[in-house]
Each structure stands twice: as C-alpha cells, then as structure tokens.
C-alpha cells in the first residue's frame, strides 16, 4: 500500500465554516484535498450517528466545524455539537477506534485562513494516527460490505 492518504469528513456549518471554506477558495489558500466537506445548517444538526457512520464507512477522521462560542447563528447549536463530539470521543475510545480521530473546531465565516490551517493540522494529525483500524489492514473487504 502506497503512502497513506487519510480521508477526512468535515461537517461544516453553513453560516461559518462552510463560508470560511469558500473564502479560503476565493483567497486561494490551499489545504489538503483529503478533507471532504458536508454542509449542515448548524453544527448542532450533526448527529452522533453521522460521525460514527462516517468512520464506519471508511473515514479516517471526522471533524465538526461550528461557529465561534457565542456566535452560533442558532444561539447554542455549536455547544450541543461540542458535547456530542465529546460523547462520541468516549464511545470511540471504548470501541478501540480512538476518540482522537474526532474533533470539534470553531471558526467564523471570515476565517478563510483558519479553515485551511485547521484542515491541514487535522489532516496531519490523522496521518500520524494512521488508517482507521476499522478499515485496515486485514479487512478492507469487511468494510466495503456496508
């Protein structure tokens, strides 16, 4: 197997992180293509199950990107999200997949740089952690049965 390229799913709030991602685009600030964005209306919409499913289906890392604390377009959705991410981290630790494959990050719509930087840091972190053990090495077949 050639150099490990992690696949990372980023659930991004429409009002901040997703906009920040677009801004990173218009400012042409590069970040690793490993990050695949899923747009949500608010990070508070991201269900613990979505995070688990992403990993189960083959993601090596997942992060939820919401608005800065106090800035949530819906008052406190970003906090709900943060709590859920914590819950999932614990569950993943129990599972043996490792809670550190999941992160909660916060940024505002104006932070194109921050978005790119976050994407890079997380990608590198996951790269270090190596492939999602539920996916590799012994049983790529198993995973694809999904």
């Amino acid at each position: 197997m050639d150099k490990f390229e992690p696949v990372i799913v980023a659930f991004c709030c429409h009002y901040c992180a997703y906009t920040a991602a677009d801004m990173a685009g218009s400012k042409r600030i590069p970040y690793p293509p490993n990050v695949k964005i899923v747009r949500v209306p608010c990070s508070g919409k991201v269900d613990a199950i979505h995070i688990m499913k992403a990993l189960e289906k083959g993601a090596d890392g997942v992060y939820v990107a919401g608005c800065l604390e106090g800035d949530c377009h819906f008052k406190k959705g970003n906090l709900n999200a943060a709590h859920r991410v914590e819950y999932v981290k614990k569950l993943l630790d129990e599972t043996g997949i490792g809670g550190d494959r999941v992160e909660m990050v916060m940024m505002s719509a104006g932070m194109g740089e921050v978005f790119a930087q976050t994407a890079t840091t997380i990608t590198e972190k996951i790269r270090k952690l190596g492939p999602n053990p539920a996916k590799f090495p012994s049983n790529r077949k198993a995973a694809s049965n999904e």
């Binding site: 688990m52 990993l55 539920a134 198993a142």
Partner: protein
C-alpha cells in the same frame, strides 16, 4: 419512568463475540426517554460494534430494530420474522424487555446491552434521579410528597440521621438529605407538628421482600 444506562462496550462485545449475526433491539418507551436504548442509541451501538469487530478483521451483521414497547408480548412478536436470521439478540430495553424477548424466543440467547437503574424523574435535560422504590405501600402522604424509602440513603422513616449537613446526605455532597427536603416541605405545608409522630416500623411484605409481585385486574384479566 424506568431509567437505564448503556453497559460498557467491552462487556457487550464479550457477550456477542461468539456470534456473527446480531439482532439489536431497542425500545421506544422509557429507555428512549432516558436516551439509553432508543433508535438513536441502537444506531450508535450498532455502529460502534461493527467497527469494533472490523478492527478485529471480522464482519458483524447487525439488524437494528426498535420496538414500540419491549415489555409487551404483542410488540415482541414483531421480531418473529427476523429472529431466525440472528445468532443472538442484544436488547437495549430495561430488564423487563430483555426478559420478555427471552421468554418469547426460547432458543435464542438474549443479552442485555443496558443496565436498568431505577425508577426516576428527569431533573433537567440529560439528568435523571431516583424517586421511587416501588415499596408497594406508598407513604408519600405522610412525608410531604418526598419518599424517604427511595431518597434517604438509610431509608430512615424517622430521619434525619446525624449525618445530615447543610441539606446534604453524609454519603455525598450531591445527594440531597431526603429528610431535610421532607422537613422543608412540612414547613411549607405548615404541618411541622406531624414530624414528631413516630412512624412505626414498615411492613415490607408489600415490597419485594414479600417475593416477586404481581397485579391482577380481574375486570381486565
């Protein structure tokens, strides 16, 4: 409401390790309300278990289903079509549900995925506390609507004991002294004088000390 909590994943994994096909059954009543065994928790557990097995290079087939109420035979009957396709059943219902499934499907091993905790009420979002022990002979009328049997660590009927400090129980600061509550309530109701009436030794036959209990409503039965 009956409250429960998911068992440690490790324990669950050990139970189902021998099997390849699991029928994971949730319940849409109490355990859903206390976020322990509803559709969502079923989904999360299924996902976690699949990954845990994949990690070991195994594929675990999990069929997810959440019944309306797992302690009623009619609902449990709904499993009949899929039970054969499973090597074992993992139930996220309270003990009642688990036993109902076991009773109905004699040849299928059934494992509990949650620990049934107590009969409680929700204090705030995500917090539940014990309120009743089902002693079968309710005395709330005498204790200002706060149950010493369920809420005093020593279930003293003539409390409080010497361990009560600033409203908290001696066993822990986050346990309220039931008798402090009772006393406060009595004052609210202006029935302090009742306090000195000695509450005589309780007849525990009505509680589970009298053996497994049963209710029969002849008119319905």
């Amino acid at each position: 409401m009956i409250t429960a909590e998911r068992k440690p994943l490790e324990e669950i994994i050990e139970c189902i390790r021998p099997y390849d096909r699991i029928l994971l059954v949730g319940c849409n009543e109490c355990v859903t309300v206390c976020a322990a065994g509803g559709r969502k928790e079923v989904g999360l557990l299924a996902s976690a278990l699949r990954m845990a097995f994949m990690k070991e290079g195994r594929t675990l087939e999990i069929t997810e289903l959440t019944l309306e109420r797992q302690c009623d035979p009619e609902y449990v009957e709904e499993l009949v079509t899929m039970i054969d396709a499973a090597d074992a059943v993992l139930s996220m219902a309270c003990g009642c549900g688990v036993q109902e499934v076991a009773r109905r499907y004699k040849n299928k091993p059934v494992y509990p995925a949650v620990n049934t905790k107590f009969m409680g009420a929700s204090v705030s979002q995500g917090v539940w506390a014990e309120r009743c022990q089902g002693c079968g002979d309710c005395i709330l009328g005498l204790t200002g609507g706060i149950c010493p049997v369920a809420r005093c660590s020593k279930r003293l009927l003539n409390g409080p004991c010497g361990g009560s400090t600033s409203g908290k129980c001696e066993i822990s600061d986050d346990v309220e002294c039931a008798w402090q509550l009772i006393w406060d309530r009595m004052k609210e109701l202006g029935i302090q004088d009742r306090y000195e009436e000695v509450m005589v030794a309780k007849d525990w036959r009505t509680s589970r000390d009298g053996g497994p209990r049963k209710i029969v409503r002849e008119d319905l039965a």
